[in-house]
């Protein structure tokens, strides 16, 4: 345990000195600020309180941004240490590989948490400033916050696995961004194309909900959608939220975070520094 904490502390310090903490926070805050500014401008009064509306927008933001930040922090974690040559020495210490991964994971999750809380905080504050009823949306905001961290955890794990499997950080950077594009952007596109082509057959009925659950980003979206009660009206893939119980989506998210970490540890075990 103390070994994990030691690693986490050192990694956090490095993240701080590399300005990663600053970059992550600025990125989140900037986006959240722009979104809550732009999102409210043309809309005018809606039925819901302002914070609920903001949370809705923030969810879409989180699906893009949280995995991106997580992957960017993690791609260097193992490949970088191998290239720099610092890994070999650490591995001769009586620290288990999973402890190292966990240590890095904790520190990166911490950075993510800071960024997420800062970003969502700014958005929430601006919501409160404009609409005191926003207190109603606090629930949704809290849920969004911890699920964002779960989502981040899953992608941190995936990032570590890629970092461990690719020999060089440059390669890892490319792979990680490619993966982001595939999981976050292409995946849904492909599913939609499949559903349309299949026209209500086996794929749509059986595989499609499973495929949605299989992608942590989709699971995250579905869970937040279903919980915020916006399902009935959701378009696109979100429409499936009614077919998939929130608890399953949450389960997938939790499972993914755990599985990704296991995957990372597994991949790391195969690394020869």
């Amino acid at each position: 345990m103390s070994r994990i904490l030691a690693t986490a502390q050192a990694e956090f310090r490095i993240a701080l000195r590399n300005r990663w903490v600053a970059i992550a926070i600025v990125m989140m805050v900037l986006f959240a600020a722009v979104l809550s500014a732009a999102g409210s401008a043309p809309t005018g009064e809606l039925g819901a309180d302002k914070l609920t509306v903001t949370v809705a927008s923030l969810t879409s933001l989180a699906v893009y941004l949280v995995p991106l930040i997580a992957l960017l922090m993690s791609f260097d974690a193992i490949a970088g240490e191998v290239e720099r040559g610092t890994l070999a020495l650490v591995l001769t210490y009586p620290v288990r590989r999973w402890e190292l991964v966990l240590g890095k994971f904790l520190s990166h999750l911490m950075v993510l948490a800071l960024a997420v809380v800062a970003g969502y905080g700014v958005a929430a504050l601006s919501a409160f400033a404009f609409d005191p009823r926003s207190i109603d949306g606090l629930d949704a905001l809290v849920r969004l916050t911890w699920t964002s961290l779960l989502l981040g955890a899953a992608f941190l794990g995936i990032g570590y696995a890629i970092s461990a499997l690719s020999k060089r950080p440059g390669t890892a950077a490319g792979l990680v961004v490619a993966l982001w594009l595939i999981l976050i952007v292409l995946y849904d596109l492909a599913l939609l194309a499949g559903v349309v082509a299949d026209n209500g057959g086996y794929f749509s009925k059986t595989l499609f909900p499973l495929a949605l659950l299989a992608n942590p980003a989709d699971a995250f979206r579905l869970f937040n959608l279903a919980s915020s009660g916006a399902v009935a009206a959701a378009a696109g893939i979100g429409g499936a939220a009614s077919t998939i119980p929130p608890v399953q989506a949450l389960g997938s998210l939790v499972l993914w975070s755990a599985a990704a970490l296991l995957l990372a540890v597994g991949a790391f075990r195969r690394v020869q520094p």
Partner: protein
């Protein structure tokens, strides 16, 4: 008590046998120097002992444990040949991290850094350190705890002469307390004085493994005597002693180890003809070359 037992270890990389049936054992308190040409397999052997590389054949036991097991790692210290640290951390932070990973109290950091002579730079980032300073951080971390086995890959590379001596003194103390030390080096003069045993790798094969004197004896290399004659007397000296005249003043002789005193006697008998005498025993370099070359052929 045998701390490290290596038997018949073989390690192959794509199309290249880096280690070929290497067997070696080290007792507690013993200091063994691992010599060999570049690419001989020294670092590979060390990484195999540490469990960083998996051997393709043979077995290694670290005080009865498998390399890379928690138990083995707990009692081993390592200094890699290309020591590297995270440039953004300070020396102190880095050592504290290592202390915590070994389960030692972090307050020992200052003492360790003092021991390797970079106490005054310990709050600067490692990125600003000179090469030798970085190497010292490496040494400091290798000294953490009370390792039963130290694996040091070219530990003095980059160290200045004074700190080398200090470092070897620390090693002596550790060995005295029962730590088994395996270190590689290309600085043969240092090795000569500071080790109990010498192992020589050549192209992955262990070609020598004995004490220096035993190696010297079995090699039977000649001793060199270098004379400086009175000016104009070099020819005369060379004639009388049967040596080779090098230039106007110098005469060189070679003799078997057991004939050394006799020859010295001959020299002093020349009286004022000789201005200076130097005795040059077969150096470790000669021995190393001798053993190294043997297998290469």
């Amino acid at each position: 008590m045998t701390i490290l037992t290596i038997s018949q270890v073989t390690k192959r990389f794509a199309g290249l046998t880096a280690l070929d049936g290497v067997s070696l054992a080290i007792e507690a308190g013993e200091r063994v120097a691992l010599l060999g040409h570049n690419g001989a397999g020294k670092s590979t052997l060390m990484k195999t002992i540490l469990g960083l590389l998996a051997a393709d054949g043979g077995t290694i036991s670290v005080d009865g444990h498998v390399p890379g097991s928690q138990a083995a790692k707990a009692l081993t210290a390592y200094l890699p040949e290309n020591v590297a640290f995270h440039p953004a951390l300070t020396g102190r932070e880095q050592i504290e991290l290592y202390l915590r990973l070994k389960g030692e109290p972090v307050k020992k950091a200052a003492g360790l850094l003092e021991q390797v002579g970079i106490a005054d730079a310990m709050n600067r980032r490692i990125g600003t350190y000179s090469k030798g300073m970085r190497q010292r951080i490496g040494l400091a971390q290798a000294l953490i705890g009370h390792p039963k086995l130290m694996i040091l890959d070219e530990p003095t590379s980059g160290l200045d002469p004074v700190s080398r001596q200090e470092f070897y003194s620390i090693l002596d103390l550790l060995a005295h307390d029962g730590t088994a030390i395996l270190h590689s080096s290309h600085a043969l003069t240092e090795v000569e004085a500071r080790t109990d045993r010498i192992a020589i790798l050549s192209r992955g094969v262990l070609v020598a493994n004995d004490t220096l004197s035993a190696l010297r004896h079995s090699a039977g290399l000649p001793i060199h005597i270098r004379l400086v004659a009175q000016s104009g007397q070099a020819d005369e000296v060379a004639r009388q002693l049967g040596g080779t005249r090098i230039n106007g003043k110098r005469v060189d002789l070679a003799c078997a180890p057991e004939a050394k005193l006799g020859r010295l006697n001959d020299i002093t008998r020349l009286g004022s003809l000789v201005e200076d005498v130097d005795l040059i025993p077969p150096s470790l370099e000669d021995l190393y070359t001798h053993y190294s070359r043997r297998t290469v052929q």
